[in-house]
């Protein structure tokens, strides 16, 4: 998986591409930790190029979500491919994660809450 990063206001956007599994999940957790360590706690994951996610990948996302809560931050996701959306529905993680159709929608939701 490849992760590229961009900052939009107070939000760090991570663009994920490829396959989200055990190895890349660890990579994602490390990347998000670096963001938190830099003092930012609002993270958006643009998943438009995630073509595959498995059990370990889901675990990594849950772990990132829990870490975000500990940091009193906020995590949003957007652009889920059909298969990824389906797996979020089956596991009902869609009830816990804030998922937006597009990155713009997600970033707009941050603008409501940022001073």
């Amino acid at each position: 998986m490849q992760i590229t990063q961009k900052t939009e206001g107070n939000v760090v956007v991570l663009y994920l591409s490829g396959r989200l599994d055990l190895a890349s999940g660890t990579e994602l957790k490390n990347e998000v930790k670096k963001v938190f360590d830099s003092g930012k706690n609002c993270v958006h994951l643009n998943m438009s190029k995630i073509e595959f996610i498995n059990s370990s990948g889901l675990g990594a996302l849950v772990s990132v979500m829990k870490e975000t809560r500990l940091r009193k931050g906020r995590l949003t996701l957007s652009n889920l491919a059909n298969y990824v959306q389906e797996i979020f529905e089956i596991t009902q993680l869609s009830h816990i994660f804030e998922i937006f159709p597009t990155q713009e929608d997600a970033l707009a939701s941050f603008s409501f809450t940022m001073a």
Binding site: D21, L22, F52, I53, N54, S55, S56, L58, G59, V62, K66, R69, K72, G73, R74, Y83, I87, I90, T91, Q92, L93, H95, I96, E98, S109, F112, T113, M114, A115
Partner: protein
């Protein structure tokens, strides 16, 4: 006397009739007459005893819209009957900008203060800048009512040309001061700020309020410092007015203002504003109180959760995450006495802040009579990380309502570990598909080797449904450990299991297992063959052409369709020869697939055939051909 005038005189006489219908007919007929005499007669109808006839006359005068109509209506502003005066004013207002020159002219000629006040009010409402000079003159009228009406009208005109006249009036006429200040606010020009900031120190609270409001209305960020000084004013109303002005400035500037003061003293006012659905105060409060708070403020936020919009629930949730422990406790205290709708909102908020203590307390609400509440409780407990909630979730997994059971199984998947695998597998036998799906999802979340082993064993389960759920679960787990059982499932006796296995292996993408896909390409079941085509193409791309080519003659039309589409995606003109025969297929759907494929493959040698197909009997085929030719000619 001309016949036309005679007719009008006759109609005027008819307007004196005691019979309503006779008078109404007279007015209607006057409306159809041309000439100033008819218009003047219609003005008389404004004093008819019947309101319907008066309004009819007014409408006809608006339609007439002649200089005479305007002049007569202005004259009517002095009518002894107040109803006629008001109707004349309303009619002039409806005529609008066309009435402005005559109204301005009337300012110079009229001495009646009542008429002048009417004129000022009408000009203010019409809002035409041509009235500015006339209204400025009226600021020096001897009657204060006229002066105030003119000042107010100048505010409505929003013309900067009026600023100096209003400032001069403020200086010289004490009673016009609040109105003049308000007018400067409405004009909204920053050049007025220096005057307003000076006048704020007046001893008269009315003037102070007007200046504060006006400064807020102008919306200039530089005013925030001046207004902030008033937040400590001894008069609480003045302080709150200053804050409201600051809030408006913040709204106008989309929050881009520099605030250097503590809002804690104003929380009652702010939260009252939220309860009253004041959008500016709500936005300001959520924006500027978005940080850690004590119990008092957190309680106020939780209190308004049942009155804010769905979108603002999200904003409150975000604020509460800054003080999660305090917030969770406050929400729990509120939960007990809330109605169902409010409970659901509290639970939505609690998802983001739940901790062990609040999860423990929440368990006692698991028997709530409302299923939607029990469903959300299951989700919150699942995400709480509190392992002690497992027993409660197991109880909810036996709930009589399907979506509660479904939520409970999903939540167990987030919360529990290998110890609960046996229980989660019981969910696979639930009578409802949604619950069985949730149980699979929960097992996927755990995704351990034990789960894989249990699913693998289930491939031989007596129930076909359980076999299918097992292969589906293995596919969703998607780890390398699942590859071997999935490979075996590809040879299962049930075609659905084989198809799901092939689809899963295709997603996992294990190149070494090409043999499995090749075997599946000749499966007896068309859905399996179709899945195998996708798998081979996903794994090998263009190199799979020789593997899938034999399926171009597959007995199943949809397999052929799928293979043709796959060739198109190879985008290699060298394969055009395989696809070209399908341009003449008996099935239109195959012809369309072939047209699109040869266009994607850039088979320019087929352009003449595609051109001929643009007039096909089937409009869908013709449209596909049209698009294909266009794409080939564009070279893309």
């Amino acid at each position: 006397m001309t016949p036309a005038v005679e007719n009008i005189v006759s109609l005027l006489s008819q307007m004196q009739s005691p019979d309503f219908f006779a008078r109404e007919e007279a007015v209607r007929r006057l409306g159809n007459c041309s000439g100033d005499e008819a218009v003047t007669a219609l003005v008389f109808a404004l004093e008819d005893p019947d309101p319907g006839i008066r309004e009819l006359a007014a409408d006809l005068l608006v339609k007439a819209n002649t200089p005479t109509a305007v002049t007569q209506l202005i004259r009517c502003l002095n009518h002894e009957d107040i109803g006629a005066r008001n109707l004349a004013a309303e009619t002039l207002l409806k005529i609008g900008k066309d009435a402005v020159p005559a109204l301005v002219q009337a300012i110079a000629s009229s001495k009646d203060s009542g008429v002048l006040k009417f004129i000022a009010e009408i000009l203010g409402k019409i809002g035409d800048e041509r009235a500015v000079d006339g209204l400025c003159e009226l600021l020096w009228d001897e009657h204060i009512n006229v002066v105030c009406a003119s000042a107010e009208a100048l505010g409505s005109l929003r013309s900067s040309r009026a600023i100096q006249a209003l400032v001069a009036a403020y200086d010289k006429i004490e009673d016009v001061r609040p109105v003049a200040a308000e007018a400067l606010g409405k004009i909204g020009d920053s050049s007025s700020l220096s005057y307003l900031s000076t006048w704020i120190s007046s001893d008269d609270p009315m003037i102070q309020y007007a200046c504060i409001d006006a400064i807020g209305h102008i919306g200039d960020r530089s005013s925030v410092a001046t207004l902030s000084e008033l937040l400590r004013h001894a008069n609480r109303s003045i302080a709150e007015a200053a804050l409201k002005a600051i809030i408006h400035i913040a709204a106008v500037n989309r929050g881009r203002v520099n605030l250097q003061f503590d809002l804690e003293d104003f929380t009652d006012m702010l939260f009252d504003g939220i309860r009253q659905h004041n959008a500016e105060i709500t936005d300001f409060t959520f924006r500027w109180l978005n940080h850690e708070h004590d119990t008092r403020i957190i309680t106020k936020f939780v209190d308004v959760l049942n009155v804010v919009s769905e979108q603002d629930v999200l904003r409150v949730s975000d604020i509460l995450t800054h003080s999660p422990q305090v917030s969770a406790q406050v929400v729990m205290e509120h939960l007990e006495h809330a109605n169902t709708a409010t409970k659901l909102r509290y639970l939505d908020v609690l998802k983001g802040i739940v901790d062990t203590d609040s999860a423990r307390q929440l368990m006692s609400y698991a028997a709530d009579p409302e299923p939607d509440v029990r469903q959300k409780i299951a989700h919150v407990l699942g995400f709480s990380g509190y392992i002690g909630a497992v027993a409660t979730l197991k109880g909810l997994a036996g709930d009589s309502v399907d979506h509660v059971r479904s939520a409970a199984f999903a939540a167990l998947g987030w919360l529990s570990d290998e110890n609960e695998i046996d229980f989660l597998f019981t969910g696979l036998d639930d009578r409802m598909a949604d619950v069985r799906e949730a149980a699979v999802g929960a097992l996927v979340m755990i995704g351990s080797q034990s789960v894989i082993a249990r699913f693998t064993a289930d491939l031989q389960h007596l129930s076909t449904d359980r076999q299918r759920l097992a292969v589906w679960g293995l596919g969703l787990i998607g780890d390398m450990e699942a590859v071997e059982p999935l490979t075996r499932a590809a040879g299962h006796h049930d075609a659905v299991v084989r198809k799901l296995a092939i689809e899963a292996l295709s997603r996992i993408q294990v190149p070494t297992r090409m043999d499995v896909f090749r075997l599946a390409l000749s499966d007896e079941n068309a859905a399996v063959r179709k899945a195998a085509v996708s798998g081979v193409v996903a794994l090998c791309g263009n190199r799979s052409a020789s593997d899938i080519r034999p399926l171009l003659t597959d007995a199943d039309m949809w397999v052929r369709y799928h293979v043709i589409t796959a060739f198109g995606e190879f985008r290699d003109a060298a394969h055009g020869g395989y696809i070209a025969p399908f341009l003449d297929d008996v099935h239109d759907v195959i012809r369309i697939a072939a047209i699109k494929a040869v266009a994607m493959m850039k088979c320019t040698d087929l352009t003449p055939r595609l051109k001929a197909m643009r007039v096909d009997r089937n409009p869908d085929v013709a449209e596909a051909a049209l698009n294909a030719v266009a794409a080939l000619e564009r070279g893309c």
